[in-house]
C-alpha cells in the first residue's frame, strides 16, 4: 500500500552540549577544537584514583532546559554509571542518569504541524551526562583503518540528553520539533546548538504502522544526522524504505542505521536484537543532588520570555503578520533588539518593517550576527523619527540606514554630514519644479496633452535634481500645479 496508508511514528533523542566554561567533573576548558588532547587532565582522562566533582553550573543549565521544556524538576536526583567498553570512554563508564530520580521529566513543547496548527509533543526526560572523546581513524572509516587515535578534548564536556516521546508523525514535523528545541535552548543560553561542531546531535527512532493501528511497528534508530536537512531527508528516505519492506512482506527487525549524506540513503549499522546491558548502578563517587525551591526560583528567573509567548504578543498586541512575528521571535537576540527599538520608537510596525527588510538584507549580505550589529535599537528609533518629522524621506532613509550599518554613526550626524535633509520648503520646491518643466518641454506637453504617465518622468527628474532629497509627497502636487498653470 502507498506510504499514505501508513502512519509514521518518530521520536527524537537529542544531545546538546552545555555552554559551561569548564567540563562537568573537572576544571578543563570546554572550548571547541584545540590540539588533540590539549584540554585534558587526570580527572577527565580517568587516570587511576581520580574522582569527579560536579560543575554546579551544568546542573543549573540542565534544570533551566527542563523548565524551558515544561518539565517536572525532581527535588532529588543522582548520577549513575552507564558501563561499556570503548576506546573513547576512558573510565569505561559514562557518568549519566538512569531512569529513576531524573533531573527533569514529563515535559512538552509546541510544534507547528502540517495543517498550520500547533501540536504538543511530549518530552520524556532531560538528563545530564558527560560527553565521550573522539576516535580518529587512520583510514576513511572504521573498517579500512589499521588503527585509531583518541582525542579526549571533548571528553567530560557536559551534555544533556532530551528524549522525546514518539509523538511526531512526519519527517517535516521532526524537523520542526528539532528546530523548536534548538530555538528554546538558544533562548535560554545554555547551549550553542551548533550541529556542525557537534554541540547539537540527534538520533531518530522511526517506525511505521498501518493507519489506525494501536501497536507500534518495529523501529529503526538512525544515527549520523548532522544537519536539520539530514534529519528530514533521512526520515523521509527511511519511511519509504520501511513501507516498501512491509509491502513486500519482509520480516522487520530492530536495528540501528546510519544516514549516508552523499548517497542519500540509510545503511544498516547493527541489529539491536542482543541489546547491550549497560549495568547501570548509582555513581558512588558523587553525592545525590538536592534541588531546593530557592535554586528553582533563581533559575526560573533566568529564563527570558520564550518565543511562543513573544510571537503571540507581537501578533495580538503589535499587529505584526505571522511571518514577521515568527521570524523575529525565533531568535532571542533579534527579538530583544526588536523590542528595544520598539520601546524607543513607540510603535512596532515600522520597526518590524525595517528589521525584516533592510536589517535582514544587510545582515545576510555582510554575514554578521545580530549581536554584532553596529546600529543600536535607539539609533534605529531615532532614524524612524527623522522620517516621521519629514527630515528625511523613506528613500533617503535607506541610504542613511546603510551608512549606520557600516559605520555605527548617529543618523542625524549622517544626514547633516551628507546634506541629506529633505527639502520640504514649497517655495524652493516650486522653483525646482519650474526649472525641471522648462528643461523638459516635450514631457510637459505630453502631460498637458493627456499622457498622465509623463508626470512620472518629471518626478524622476525632480528627484535627480535634488539628489533624492525632495519631499516625495510634495513633488507631485507642485509639479501638477505648475503644469496646470501652463495650460
Amino acid at each position: 500500500m502507498p506510504l499514505n496508508d501508513y502512519e509514521i511514528v518518530i521520536g527524537l533523542e537529542v544531545h546538546a552540549e552545555l555552554k559551561t566554561d569548564s567540563k562537568i567533573f573537572c576544571g578543563c576548558t570546554t572550548e571547541f577544537g584545540g590540539e588533540p588532547n590539549s584540554h585534558v587532565c587526570p580527572v577527565c582522562l580517568g587516570l587511576p584514583g581520580v574522582l569527579p566533582v560536579l560543575n554546579e553550573k551544568a546542573m543549573d543549565y540542565t534544570i533551566t532546559a527542563g523548565l524551558a521544556l515544561n518539565c517536572e524538576i525532581s527535588p532529588y536526583s543522582k548520577f549513575d554509571r552507564k558501563q561499556y567498553f570503548y576506546p573513547d570512554l576512558p573510565k569505561a563508564y559514562q557518568i549519566s542518569q538512569y531512569n529513576d530520580f531524573l533531573l527533569c521529566k514529563s515535559g512538552w513543547i509546541e510544534v507547528a504541524s502540517g495543517n498550520g496548527e500547533l501540536k504538543k509533543v511530549r518530552i520524556n526526560r532531560v538528563h545530564l551526562e558527560e560527553d565521550a572523546g573522539k576516535t580518529v581513524h587512520s583510514g576513511t572509516g572504521i573498517l579500512d583503518s589499521d588503527y585509531g587515535q583518541q582525542d579526549y578534548n571533548r571528553c567530560g564536556v557536559p551534555l544533556i540528553e532530551i528524549v522525546g516521546e514518539p509523538d511526531l508523525r512526519s519527517a517535516q514535523e521532526a524537523k520542526e520539533y528539532l528546530e523548536k528545541l534548538r530555538t528554546l535552548l538558544l533562548y535560554t543560553g545554555i547551549s550553542d546548538c551548533k550541529m556542525e561542531e557537534g554541540s547539537l546531535r540527534c538520533d531518530a527512532n522511526i517506525s511505521l504502522r498501518p493507519k489506525g493501528a494501536k501497536e507500534f511497528g518495529i523501529l529503526a534508530e538512525i544515527k549520523n544526522l548532522n544537519s536539520f536537512k539530514a534529519v528530514q531527508s533521512a526520515l523521509e528516505y527511511e519511511a519509504e524504505r520501511q513501507a516498501e519492506l512491509y509491502d513486500k512482506g519482509e520480516k522487520m527487525f530492530k536495528q540501528t542505521r546510519a544516514w549516508d549524506e552523499n548517497k542519500g540513503v540509510t545503511v544498516l549499522m547493527r541489529s539491536k536484537e542482543g541489546a547491550s546491558d549497560y549495568r547501570y548502578f548509582p555513581e558512588p563517587d558523587l553525592v545525590p543532588m538536592v534541588i531546593d525551591d530557592e535554586r528553582l526560583q533563581r533559575l526560573r528567573n533566568t529564563i527570558p520570555e520564550l518565543p511562543d509567548s513573544r510571537k503571540r504578543r507581537y501578533m495580538e498586541i503589535w499587529g505584526l503578520p505571522e511571518y514577521d512575528a515568527n521570524l523575529i521571535s525565533g531568535s532571542r537576540e533579534l527579538a530583544d533588539y526588536f523590542e528595544a527599538a520598539v520601546k524607543e520608537y513607540g510603535e512596532a510596525k515600522a520597526v518590524s518593517n525595517w528589521v525584516m527588510v533592510e536589517l535582514m538584507r544587510l545582515l545576510n549580505q555582510e554575514k554578521i550576527e545580530i549581536t554584532a550589529v553596529k546600529i543600536t535599537p535607539a539609533a534605529l528609533a531615532k532614524m524612524l523619527k527623522l522620517i516621521d518629522a519629514g527630515t528625511i524621506s523613506g528613500k533617503i532613509a535607506k541610504t542613511v540606514f546603510e551608512e549606520m550599518f557600516m559605520t555605527g554613526k548617529d543618523p542625524e550626524a549622517i544626514v547633516q554630514e551628507k546634506g541629506l535633509v529633505q527639502i520640504s520648503d514649497s517655495g524652493e520646491l516650486a522653483a525646482i519644479a519650474k526649472k525641471v518643466i522648462d528643461a523638459n518641454p516635450q514631457s510637459a506637453a505630453d502631460y498637458l496633452g493627456g499622457k498622465a504617465q509623463a508626470l512620472g518622468f518629471l518626478v524622476g527628474q525632480m528627484m535627480k535634481e535634488t539628489k533624492g532629497r525632495a519631499n516625495p509627497a510634495m513633488v507631485n502636487e507642485l509639479l501638477r500645479k505648475e503644469l496646470e498653470q501652463r495650460k
Partner: protein, 486 residues
Amino acid sequence: MELYQKTAHELQQLIAAKEVKAVEVAESVLERARQAEPKIHAFVTLAEEEAYQAARRVDEAVSKGVKLPPLAGIPVAIKDNISTAGLRTTCASKILENYIPPYDATVIAEIRNQMMVLVGKTNMDEFAMGSSTENSGLFTTRNPWDIEAVPGGSSGGSAAAVCADETILALGSDTGGSIRQPAGYCGIVGLKPTYGRVSRYGLVAYASSLDQIGPLTKDVTDCALLLQAIAKYDPKDSTSVNQPAPDYLQEMKKGAKGLRIGLAKEYLGEGISLPVKDAVQNGVKVFKDLGAEIVEVSLPHTEYALAAYYIIAPAEASSNLARYDGVRYGHRTSQKVSDAVELFMKTRQEGFGAEVKRRIMTGTYVLSSGYYDAYYLKAQKVRTLIRNDFDNAFKSCDLILTPTTPSVAFKIGSKTKDPLEMYLEDIFTVTCNLAGLPGISISGGFDNGMPIGLQMLGPLFKEEILLRAAYGFEQATDFHKKRPEI
C-alpha cells in the same frame, strides 16, 4: 636503640631539638629496609633518592629555624594504590606495573606539604583484593613475626614495613579490613577512619563506597599524629565530609576511663580461636581496671554482612577496574589484535590476576540486568540494616570491642585454594566499612609468638573515642612494645 626502632613522636622531639638530623633518620630507616627486604618483601618501590632530598629539606628548614609541621622528617611508607606523582604506582598489578602517575593523591600532597619523608611504596594484594598479599601480582610479603606466615592484607606491605622497622609510619587503605587485619597480624596499630574523613582523591579505587585511607603505626600516639595530618576535608572528593577534626593527641590522652565499651555476642561466637577469645577477655579486664564500663550490645544483622560486602565490593570493583583497557596507560597486550574489543580482552587477560578476575566477574554478574535487584539492591538494603544495628548499639555504648580476626596470621599458601575461606578473614572487619564507621586494631596479645589484634569500632566521626580507648589500653599493657627478631 637504633633510630629506626623509634616512634614518630620520639623522633619528632629529637629532630626538633636538633639532636638528630632528618637525613640520619632516613639513612637509618633505609639501611634497615635494605637489610630486611630480602626476607620481608614489604616494598614494591624504595624511593631512596627522593627520601634523602625530602630529609635534606627538613634539615635545611631546621637550620634556618623555621617552625616545622609536627611530622616533618618522619619516614612514611605508602601503599602502592595511592597515586604519587613521578613515582610508580602499581596496585601490585601487572596491568599497572610500569604506570607512573602525573599527579599526587591529596594525602600525598599533605605528606609532602607537612615535610614527611616518603620512603617508598608498599606491596599489597592486587588492587587491594585480598587478605594476605598472596594476591599481589608481583610477590608475597612475609610476616616479620614468622616469615612463613602472611602479614595480612591487603595493606600487608605497609603493616610488615612498620612491624619490621623498615619505616616509621605507613599509610594503607581499608575496604573490608585491609588496614586493621594486617595491623592485627603484625601486632601494630591500624586505623580505618570514618568514610569521608580522609580524602580518597588519588586512592586507586577498589570499591568506592567502602574505601578509606588510614594510618598504620607502631603505637597509638603515632596513629593519632598521622591521622591528624590527613583528616581533612577535600573539595576534590565529593564524598569527603566538611567536619573539622578535633585535636586527636589531646583527646587521646583522656584515656579509657568512663568509656562505655560494648561487647556484641555476634562477634564472640563460634569460629574464634581460644587464644583470641582469651585476648578479648583480657582486654575486657584491662578496660575495667582502667575505669571503663562494659555493656552488652547486639548487632543482629552481622551474619549478612560478609555476603553483602562480597556483592557490593565486587560490583563497584567491576566498574572501577574497567578502565584498565590498554588504551591510555599501563599494560597493553603485545599480541596481534584485529579490533579494539580484542585489544581490551587480551590486555585484561594478561594484566589481571585470578582473584581480580573473579571479583570482576562476580561484580559484573550482580549488576547485570535481571540480577541487579536480587543482589546489588538487596545488599544495599542489608547495608542499611547493618548501619541501623550500629546506630542502636551506640545508644548504649561509646565503642564496641571485638577481635580483629578469628585467629592469628596463617601460613602462606594455606588458604589460597578456597576463596571462601579467605573471605572469612574479613568477617569482623567488613561491617565497619559497610556502615562507614571508624575502626582501629591494636596489639592485644600473642598466640604462639604471633600477635593477636583487638578491634574497636566507634560511631561516625568519633575516631578520638577509639584513640582514647586504644591509648588507655596501650599504657596499661606491653604488647605493643614487643618487636620481632628479623
